[in-house]
Protein backbone atom coordinates (compact mmCIF):
# COMPACT_ATOMS: atom_id res chain seq x y z
CA UNK A 1 0.00 0.00 0.00
CA UNK A 2 1.25 3.47 -0.84
CA UNK A 3 2.86 5.56 1.84
CA UNK A 4 0.43 8.34 0.86
CA UNK A 5 -2.72 6.22 1.12
CA UNK A 6 -5.34 7.78 3.42
CA UNK A 7 -5.30 6.54 6.98
CA UNK A 8 -8.02 4.06 7.81
CA UNK A 9 -11.02 5.45 9.67
CA UNK A 10 -12.85 4.59 12.85
CA UNK A 11 -15.51 2.92 10.69
CA UNK A 12 -12.88 0.77 8.98
CA UNK A 13 -11.84 -0.37 12.44
CA UNK A 14 -15.43 -1.32 13.28
CA UNK A 15 -15.72 -3.33 10.04
CA UNK A 16 -12.37 -5.08 10.60
CA UNK A 17 -13.58 -6.02 14.09
CA UNK A 18 -16.62 -7.90 12.75
CA UNK A 19 -15.12 -11.41 13.02
CA UNK A 20 -13.85 -10.60 16.50
CA UNK A 21 -17.23 -9.30 17.59
CA UNK A 22 -18.90 -12.44 16.20
CA UNK A 23 -16.37 -14.60 17.99
CA UNK A 24 -16.36 -12.66 21.26
CA UNK A 25 -20.10 -12.51 21.82
CA UNK A 26 -20.72 -16.24 22.32
CA UNK A 27 -17.54 -16.66 24.36
CA UNK A 28 -18.46 -13.75 26.59
CA UNK A 29 -21.96 -15.19 26.84
CA UNK A 30 -20.40 -18.47 28.00
CA UNK A 31 -18.33 -16.51 30.53
CA UNK A 32 -21.43 -14.79 31.91
CA UNK A 33 -23.17 -18.15 32.22
CA UNK A 34 -20.12 -19.77 33.87
CA UNK A 35 -19.70 -16.87 36.29
CA UNK A 36 -23.26 -17.00 37.55
CA UNK A 37 -23.02 -20.80 37.70
CA UNK A 38 -19.93 -20.32 39.90
CA UNK A 39 -21.91 -18.13 42.31
CA UNK A 40 -20.96 -14.62 41.14
CA UNK A 41 -23.66 -12.02 40.80
CA UNK A 42 -24.43 -10.55 37.38
CA UNK A 43 -22.74 -7.31 38.42
CA UNK A 44 -19.58 -9.16 39.48
CA UNK A 45 -19.44 -11.06 36.18
CA UNK A 46 -19.91 -7.84 34.22
CA UNK A 47 -17.34 -6.07 36.42
CA UNK A 48 -14.67 -8.66 35.60
CA UNK A 49 -15.28 -8.18 31.87
CA UNK A 50 -15.41 -4.39 32.21
CA UNK A 51 -12.19 -4.03 34.21
CA UNK A 52 -9.97 -7.01 33.29
CA UNK A 53 -11.09 -7.56 29.66
CA UNK A 54 -8.95 -10.65 29.04
CA UNK A 55 -10.97 -13.78 28.32
CA UNK A 56 -8.68 -16.59 29.37
CA UNK A 57 -7.69 -14.75 32.54
CA UNK A 58 -11.34 -14.17 33.40
CA UNK A 59 -12.21 -17.86 33.11
CA UNK A 60 -9.19 -18.69 35.28
CA UNK A 61 -10.31 -16.00 37.75
CA UNK A 62 -13.58 -17.90 38.19
CA UNK A 63 -11.67 -21.06 39.09
CA UNK A 64 -9.46 -19.16 41.55
CA UNK A 65 -12.36 -17.30 43.18
CA UNK A 66 -14.50 -20.40 43.59
CA UNK A 67 -11.45 -22.36 44.77
CA UNK A 68 -10.95 -19.88 47.59
CA UNK A 69 -7.47 -18.70 46.53
CA UNK A 70 -6.24 -15.55 48.36
CA UNK A 71 -6.69 -12.33 46.40
CA UNK A 72 -2.97 -11.61 46.05
CA UNK A 73 -2.17 -15.16 44.91
CA UNK A 74 -5.00 -14.99 42.37
CA UNK A 75 -3.85 -11.56 41.19
CA UNK A 76 -0.25 -12.71 40.76
CA UNK A 77 -1.38 -15.77 38.75
CA UNK A 78 -3.62 -13.74 36.47
CA UNK A 79 -1.05 -10.97 35.96
CA UNK A 80 1.56 -13.59 35.04
CA UNK A 81 -0.90 -15.05 32.55
CA UNK A 82 -1.37 -11.68 30.85
CA UNK A 83 2.30 -10.70 30.65
CA UNK A 84 2.38 -11.96 27.05
CA UNK A 85 0.62 -8.74 26.07
CA UNK A 86 3.88 -6.76 26.44
CA UNK A 87 4.93 -8.14 23.04
CA UNK A 88 1.92 -6.88 21.10
CA UNK A 89 2.44 -3.10 21.20
CA UNK A 90 6.05 -3.13 19.93
CA UNK A 91 5.23 -5.77 17.26
CA UNK A 92 2.35 -3.66 15.97
CA UNK A 93 4.25 -0.37 16.05
CA UNK A 94 7.25 -1.97 14.35
CA UNK A 95 4.98 -3.30 11.61
CA UNK A 96 3.55 0.18 10.99
CA UNK A 97 6.93 1.90 10.98
CA UNK A 98 7.79 5.54 11.70
CA UNK A 99 4.25 6.73 10.80
CA UNK A 100 2.80 5.02 13.85
CA UNK A 101 1.18 7.58 16.15
CA UNK A 102 0.60 6.62 19.76
CA UNK A 103 -0.63 9.89 21.28
CA UNK A 104 -3.87 8.27 22.44
CA UNK A 105 -2.47 4.78 22.94
CA UNK A 106 -3.20 5.06 26.68
CA UNK A 107 -6.87 4.62 25.63
CA UNK A 108 -6.87 2.34 22.56
CA UNK A 109 -4.18 0.03 23.94
CA UNK A 110 -6.63 -0.99 26.69
CA UNK A 111 -8.36 -2.97 23.94
CA UNK A 112 -5.22 -4.57 22.51
CA UNK A 113 -6.29 -8.15 23.21
CA UNK A 114 -4.90 -11.27 21.49
CA UNK A 115 -7.58 -11.14 18.82
CA UNK A 116 -7.48 -7.37 18.26
CA UNK A 117 -3.70 -7.56 17.88
CA UNK A 118 -4.07 -10.48 15.44
CA UNK A 119 -6.77 -8.74 13.41
CA UNK A 120 -4.80 -5.47 13.24
CA UNK A 121 -1.64 -7.27 12.19
CA UNK A 122 -3.52 -9.36 9.61
CA UNK A 123 -5.27 -6.34 8.09
CA UNK A 124 -1.98 -4.42 7.91
CA UNK A 125 -0.17 -7.42 6.41
CA UNK A 126 -2.83 -7.80 3.71
CA UNK A 127 -2.55 -4.08 2.90
CA UNK A 128 -6.26 -3.61 3.57
CA UNK A 129 -5.79 -0.78 6.04
CA UNK A 130 -3.42 2.03 6.86
CA UNK A 131 -2.71 2.36 10.56
CA UNK A 132 -4.35 5.21 12.46
CA UNK A 133 -5.40 5.69 16.05
CA UNK A 134 -9.02 6.14 14.89
CA UNK A 135 -8.84 2.72 13.22
CA UNK A 136 -7.50 1.19 16.43
CA UNK A 137 -10.30 2.83 18.45
CA UNK A 138 -12.92 1.38 16.08
CA UNK A 139 -11.35 -2.06 16.15
CA UNK A 140 -11.04 -2.08 19.92
CA UNK A 141 -14.43 -0.56 20.69
CA UNK A 142 -16.42 -3.06 18.60
CA UNK A 143 -14.60 -5.97 20.22
CA UNK A 144 -15.02 -4.51 23.74
CA UNK A 145 -18.71 -3.79 23.14
CA UNK A 146 -19.28 -7.34 21.97
CA UNK A 147 -17.43 -8.72 25.01
CA UNK A 148 -19.43 -6.61 27.47
CA UNK A 149 -22.82 -7.26 25.87
CA UNK A 150 -22.13 -11.00 25.64
CA UNK A 151 -21.15 -11.12 29.31
CA UNK A 152 -24.21 -9.16 30.36
CA UNK A 153 -26.56 -11.38 28.38
CA UNK A 154 -24.89 -14.57 29.66
CA UNK A 155 -25.09 -13.37 33.26
CA UNK A 156 -28.72 -12.39 32.76
CA UNK A 157 -29.54 -15.78 31.20
CA UNK A 158 -28.04 -17.51 34.23
CA UNK A 159 -26.02 -20.61 34.98
CA UNK A 160 -28.40 -23.13 33.40
CA UNK A 161 -28.87 -21.27 30.10
CA UNK A 162 -27.08 -23.72 27.78
CA UNK A 163 -27.65 -26.98 29.64
CA UNK A 164 -30.50 -27.99 27.31
CA UNK A 165 -28.65 -26.96 24.13
CA UNK A 166 -25.41 -29.00 24.05
CA UNK A 167 -24.95 -28.62 20.27
CA UNK A 168 -25.12 -24.83 20.45
CA UNK A 169 -22.86 -24.91 23.49
CA UNK A 170 -20.32 -26.99 21.52
CA UNK A 171 -20.51 -24.77 18.43
CA UNK A 172 -20.01 -21.63 20.53
CA UNK A 173 -17.09 -23.30 22.28
CA UNK A 174 -15.29 -23.77 18.96
CA UNK A 175 -15.74 -20.14 17.90
CA UNK A 176 -12.49 -18.96 19.51
CA UNK A 177 -10.22 -21.72 18.08
CA UNK A 178 -11.83 -21.12 14.68
CA UNK A 179 -11.11 -17.40 14.97
CA UNK A 180 -7.47 -17.99 15.93
CA UNK A 181 -7.01 -20.41 13.01
CA UNK A 182 -8.60 -17.98 10.54
CA UNK A 183 -6.40 -15.13 11.84
CA UNK A 184 -3.35 -17.37 11.51
CA UNK A 185 -4.27 -18.17 7.90
CA UNK A 186 -4.68 -14.46 7.18
CA UNK A 187 -1.07 -13.67 8.11
CA UNK A 188 0.48 -16.92 6.92
CA UNK A 189 3.66 -16.71 4.87
CA UNK A 190 6.20 -19.33 3.82
CA UNK A 191 8.91 -17.56 5.80
CA UNK A 192 6.93 -17.83 9.03
CA UNK A 193 6.09 -21.56 8.74
CA UNK A 194 9.03 -22.64 10.96
CA UNK A 195 7.99 -20.01 13.52
CA UNK A 196 4.47 -21.41 13.60
CA UNK A 197 5.66 -25.02 13.83
CA UNK A 198 8.03 -24.25 16.72
CA UNK A 199 5.42 -22.18 18.56
CA UNK A 200 2.87 -25.00 18.28
CA UNK A 201 5.32 -27.70 19.37
CA UNK A 202 6.56 -25.67 22.34
CA UNK A 203 3.00 -24.90 23.45
CA UNK A 204 2.05 -28.58 23.40
CA UNK A 205 5.23 -29.75 25.13
CA UNK A 206 5.23 -27.18 27.95
CA UNK A 207 1.47 -27.39 28.50
CA UNK A 208 1.68 -31.16 28.92
CA UNK A 209 4.80 -30.96 31.08
CA UNK A 210 3.85 -27.96 33.24
CA UNK A 211 0.74 -25.82 32.74
CA UNK A 212 -1.38 -24.07 30.13
CA UNK A 213 -0.17 -20.61 31.13
CA UNK A 214 3.48 -21.66 30.92
CA UNK A 215 2.71 -23.32 27.57
CA UNK A 216 1.36 -20.07 26.14
CA UNK A 217 4.39 -18.07 27.23
CA UNK A 218 6.78 -20.79 26.00
CA UNK A 219 5.05 -21.06 22.63
CA UNK A 220 5.17 -17.34 21.96
CA UNK A 221 8.77 -16.86 23.03
CA UNK A 222 10.08 -20.04 21.37
CA UNK A 223 8.28 -19.21 18.13
CA UNK A 224 9.57 -15.64 18.01
CA UNK A 225 13.13 -16.73 18.85
CA UNK A 226 13.02 -19.46 16.20
CA UNK A 227 12.13 -16.79 13.64
CA UNK A 228 15.49 -15.18 14.36
CA UNK A 229 17.45 -18.39 14.03
CA UNK A 230 15.84 -19.63 10.81
CA UNK A 231 16.33 -16.34 9.03
CA UNK A 232 19.90 -16.05 10.26
CA UNK A 233 20.68 -19.53 8.86
CA UNK A 234 19.00 -18.65 5.57
CA UNK A 235 21.17 -15.59 5.22
CA UNK A 236 24.40 -17.46 6.05
Amino acid sequence: MSLHAPKSTFTAGLVTALPIALGYFPIAFSFGVAATRAGLTGLEAFGLSLIIYAGAAQFLALALITGGAPVLVSAFTLVAMNIRHVLYGPALIKRVGPDARTKHAWAWAFGLTDEVFGAALGALARGKVVFSEAFMFGLGLAAYGSWLSGTALGAFAGGAALQNYPVIDAALGFMLPALFLALLLSILSKLQLPVIAVAMAATVAVTLAWSGTAGILAGMVAGAVSGLLVRRNDAA
Binding site: G89, A199, L228
Partner: protein, 104 residues
Amino acid sequence: MRLEILTLALIVGACTWAFRFFPTKADLSGIKPDGVLARFLASTGPAAIATLFVASVLPMMKGGVPLPLGIGTASVLAVYAAARSVVMATLAGSVGYGLAVWLL
Protein backbone atom coordinates in the same frame (compact mmCIF):
# COMPACT_ATOMS: atom_id res chain seq x y z
CA MET B 1 -19.83 -6.38 44.19
CA ARG B 2 -17.73 -8.11 46.83
CA LEU B 3 -14.61 -6.18 47.84
CA GLU B 4 -12.20 -9.06 47.15
CA ILE B 5 -13.53 -9.51 43.60
CA LEU B 6 -13.34 -5.76 42.93
CA THR B 7 -9.78 -5.68 44.33
CA LEU B 8 -8.75 -8.63 42.16
CA ALA B 9 -10.30 -7.06 39.06
CA LEU B 10 -8.60 -3.70 39.68
CA ILE B 11 -5.12 -5.21 40.25
CA VAL B 12 -5.31 -7.50 37.21
CA GLY B 13 -7.00 -4.89 35.04
CA ALA B 14 -4.41 -2.21 35.85
CA CYS B 15 -1.46 -4.56 35.19
CA THR B 16 -3.01 -5.83 31.94
CA TRP B 17 -3.56 -2.25 30.74
CA ALA B 18 0.07 -1.43 31.62
CA PHE B 19 1.29 -4.49 29.66
CA ARG B 20 -0.73 -3.37 26.63
CA PHE B 21 -0.02 0.37 26.78
CA PHE B 22 3.54 1.09 27.96
CA PRO B 23 5.32 -1.06 25.31
CA THR B 24 3.60 1.03 22.58
CA LYS B 25 5.75 3.94 23.83
CA ALA B 26 9.02 2.04 23.40
CA ASP B 27 11.46 3.88 21.15
CA LEU B 28 11.90 1.58 18.13
CA SER B 29 13.64 4.13 15.91
CA GLY B 30 17.09 2.70 16.59
CA ILE B 31 16.15 -0.83 15.55
CA LYS B 32 17.80 -1.95 12.31
CA PRO B 33 15.25 -3.30 9.76
CA ASP B 34 16.96 -6.70 9.57
CA GLY B 35 18.34 -6.65 13.10
CA VAL B 36 17.74 -9.22 15.78
CA LEU B 37 15.01 -7.25 17.59
CA ALA B 38 13.20 -6.39 14.33
CA ARG B 39 13.11 -10.06 13.34
CA PHE B 40 11.98 -11.06 16.83
CA LEU B 41 9.10 -8.60 16.70
CA ALA B 42 8.13 -9.68 13.15
CA SER B 43 7.88 -13.28 14.33
CA THR B 44 5.90 -12.40 17.45
CA GLY B 45 2.52 -12.16 15.67
CA PRO B 46 2.52 -15.54 13.93
CA ALA B 47 4.03 -17.18 17.03
CA ALA B 48 1.39 -15.65 19.31
CA ILE B 49 -1.58 -16.58 17.15
CA ALA B 50 -0.30 -20.11 16.49
CA THR B 51 0.24 -20.54 20.24
CA LEU B 52 -3.25 -19.32 21.11
CA PHE B 53 -4.83 -21.63 18.52
CA VAL B 54 -3.03 -24.65 19.99
CA ALA B 55 -3.79 -23.58 23.57
CA SER B 56 -7.48 -23.28 22.71
CA VAL B 57 -7.79 -26.72 21.08
CA LEU B 58 -5.58 -28.71 23.46
CA PRO B 59 -8.33 -29.13 26.09
CA MET B 60 -10.51 -30.71 23.34
CA MET B 61 -7.90 -33.34 22.50
CA LYS B 62 -7.90 -35.58 25.54
CA GLY B 63 -7.46 -39.11 24.19
CA GLY B 64 -6.82 -38.11 20.57
CA VAL B 65 -8.27 -35.77 17.97
CA PRO B 66 -12.09 -35.97 18.09
CA LEU B 67 -13.91 -35.93 14.76
CA PRO B 68 -15.80 -32.67 15.45
CA LEU B 69 -12.47 -30.91 16.00
CA GLY B 70 -11.17 -32.29 12.70
CA ILE B 71 -14.33 -31.25 10.86
CA GLY B 72 -14.36 -27.80 12.47
CA THR B 73 -10.70 -27.25 11.56
CA ALA B 74 -11.23 -28.52 8.01
CA SER B 75 -14.23 -26.19 7.65
CA VAL B 76 -12.09 -23.18 8.59
CA LEU B 77 -9.33 -24.21 6.16
CA ALA B 78 -11.73 -24.89 3.28
CA VAL B 79 -13.77 -21.72 3.63
CA TYR B 80 -10.70 -19.52 4.12
CA ALA B 81 -9.13 -21.05 1.00
CA ALA B 82 -12.31 -20.40 -0.98
CA ALA B 83 -13.35 -16.99 0.35
CA ARG B 84 -10.23 -15.49 1.97
CA SER B 85 -12.52 -14.17 4.68
CA VAL B 86 -11.77 -14.38 8.40
CA VAL B 87 -15.47 -13.84 9.21
CA MET B 88 -16.76 -16.59 6.93
CA ALA B 89 -14.03 -19.03 7.95
CA THR B 90 -14.71 -18.46 11.67
CA LEU B 91 -18.45 -18.96 11.28
CA ALA B 92 -17.94 -22.03 9.06
CA GLY B 93 -15.66 -23.59 11.66
CA SER B 94 -18.19 -23.07 14.42
CA VAL B 95 -21.08 -24.39 12.33
CA GLY B 96 -19.02 -27.38 11.13
CA TYR B 97 -18.03 -28.24 14.68
CA GLY B 98 -21.60 -27.91 15.95
CA LEU B 99 -23.02 -30.02 13.11
CA ALA B 100 -20.43 -32.72 13.72
CA VAL B 101 -21.33 -32.85 17.42
CA TRP B 102 -25.01 -33.07 16.51
CA LEU B 103 -24.64 -35.78 13.85
CA LEU B 104 -22.05 -38.01 15.55
